[in-house]
Subunit: 394 residues, 2 copies
């Protein structure tokens, strides 16, 4: 297996002349003095480091509710390579028979699949009345059915109350409706930007909790940039700042900030909210605004959902695909889309994402010259079938 | 298996009140009289049929060179359901040991794979120095290697001279360089629009050989529309009419012509030249202009080709993908793209196709918010890696 860590501190130092100091925790940014203060975690010593230009790339941290037992042994989060290794080692060491996943978002659903494949009983507890709150309820139902079909016990609309421990280790998860035995718990309640360090230094933080940045990834403080999960991004459809924590966005922001800090000039215009996840046999993808988000953004919206096939109907391996298109009545402007389907379904979201960047309407999209050949698509691509139907209702 | 014929003449008649007369050959269009003349192929009788509005949808026919033996038994083309059934029956009946395919385009390559899978020896003869002339040579080489690896004998840069027959049946294919034994031959030299009927009636035919149409699919003759493989389409990148014979384009044109003929109003702005084919383990796709076509259209072009993975490198099943992006130096305007790769590679062409419709440049495309999750893509989508590299060379 290729390594998960692509570049070590040694390579940064030797090949790129970048002094990457790991095991150092930055404790303060002193803007007037243009220094940062850090603690060397190996020696405990505090050091000060001057800067001309500063990039804040502090990432995000898992959200943990303040309930009894949440810090106990056996309760895990998944937000770093180390935390992933910790869960894996716990599973290998303890051979848990029952796992409870709190939160039915990306982390929860991916973990559900993998625990089930290892023969472990899985219960998912989710406060919302649906899984994957980034999908509209009619699309999320498809996923819920898939989870149940694969043996996942799904408890929607239930709130976590507390964890019961035995010898400081989690044994039971208590919700407002039931008590679930648990040998291991994974918390997947999302993340929040690590913006406190920047905020304490006086760098502006947005309403999302992320660091405010412009198109160049500059913060509102001269000479200070921010990029990645600690920073906001501009949503090109809602025209509002958002704080998604997605690797693709972080990567692109890092590139733009780096070019600008080094004296180049480029921009990161923003995001359209594309995300994907695999849940057993379903590929799941979404982009733009779902109906609820459109409403929140004050944009009137309508949605159409179609069912089609991933390949020509007669071609071996043709699977189901559901495509939902969200659009603005009247103008027909595309606002977003959601896809749930079998192999080959998910990445079709990219057509909708690209169309969102281009500001297309559903009528224009009907005639998009997308790729066709029976092993890959019906003659009318499912995304275009959805657009065709939407255009009929504009 | 779902049927290949989606709707029978009976269904057209009974459910949709459409008098679909099969086994009738239209022999003339009389524009002054507003009638068509047809021959009932069952009775031989000629009939005249009046029209207020006329749609010409006569399709395209395979190109056949005028060489000795080309009409002999054992020499097939593939352009209709019937011709496909004929080849299939010949294979089942005669169990050919050696097949020669003339032409290394979509038909030739798809047939090569299927004959090889049936254990038949396959030789492909192609006049051009590469397979798939719709790809640039550097991408086509990848396919040639795949064909050879799978046991196909490939003879590039060779011209067909004649067929030798035995008892009126093909036995040998003779090129300008060699003699190949053949129990069965499939001709895959492309098609030309069936526009003669329209041309004889005085309807304008374009330089491509296809019937000239405007955005509404009207011909230059009042009250006459044309759609599908007999008609031209406007190429949105080269800004010239083209006559591709593709099912997706035909489908979309048919919809637009139908709406307009029935009194509605809609347009078919044009195509960007997207096409796909599966060749053994490779998915192959192209859109826009290749470097040669850009030159022909008088547009200066440059290309970059990158190699990446279809999924995150550490994820099981990650395969190779090569992406080539063709762009205009200076402006960075995207002109086209080509993809060859393993499972999940091909439909990525749709991002490039959609961007061509939107008139994007490669710099804008770097920040497209495409779907990412390890089972589906690296964090930097391969298409974006190619755009990033292209943008560096604008």
């Amino acid at each position: 297996m290729p390594p998960l860590v692509i570049r070590s501190p040694q390579v940064f130092r030797e090949k790129q002349n970048i002094d990457a100091r790991v095991h150092h925790r930055v404790t303060a940014i002193d803007l007037p003095k243009r220094t940062i203060r850090a603690q060397d975690l190996n020696t405990g010593k505090a050091i000060d480091e001057p800067f001309d230009r500063l990039l804040v790339a502090t990432g995000a941290s898992p959200i943990l509710p303040k309930i009894p037992g949440v810090r106990a042994r056996g309760v895990y989060t998944l937000s770093s390579l180390q935390s992933g290794i910790a869960v894996r080692e716990a599973v290998d060491r303890q051979a848990p028979r029952r796992v409870v996943l709190v939160g039915a978002g990306y982390i929860g659903l991916e973990m559900a699949e993998n625990f089930i494949r290892r023969g472990i009983r899985v219960a998912v507890v989710e406060k919302a009345p649906q899984v994957m709150s980034t999908l509209d309820p009619d699309m999320a139902t498809l996923l819920a059915d898939e989870l149940v079909k694969n043996g996942v016990e799904l408890f929607l609309g239930e709130s976590l109350r507390e964890f019961e421990l035995q010898k400081d280790e989690v044994r039971t998860v208590i919700t407002d409706r039931r008590t679930l035995p648990a040998d291991l718990v994974v918390m997947g309640l999302g993340v929040r930007p690590n913006s406190r360090l920047a905020g304490e230094a006086g760098i502006s933080i947005g309403e999302t909790g992320g660091i405010k940045v412009n198109e160049k990834l500059e913060t509102q403080t001269d000479g200070v940039w921010a990029a990645g999960n600690c920073a906001e991004a501009f949503h090109l459809v809602s025209r509002r700042p958002v704080a998604f924590a997605l690797g693709t966005v972080a990567n692109k922001q890092g590139r733009v900030a780096g070019i600008n800090i080094a004296g180049g000039e480029t921009v990161f215009p923003g995001v359209v909210g594309t995300a994907m996840v695999k849940v057993f046999d379903w590929e799941v993808a979404r982009t733009g605004l779902q109906e609820r988000e459109a409403k929140q953004a004050g944009i009137s919206s309508a949605g159409v959902k179609i069912e089609a096939r991933t390949r020509a109907g007669y071609y071996p391996g043709a699977g189901k695909i559901f495509v939902k298109v969200v659009f603005e009545p009247g103008s027909g402007r595309l606002l977003g889309g959601q896809i749930v389907g079998h192999e080959g379904a998910g990445k079709r979201i990219d057509v909708l994402a690209t169309a969102l960047h281009a500001g297309m309407n559903v009528e224009q999209m009907i005639n998009l010259d997308l790729g066709y050949s029976p092993p890959f698509s019906p003659a009318w691509d499912p995304v275009l079938i959805a657009c065709r139907q939407a255009a009929g209702q504009v």
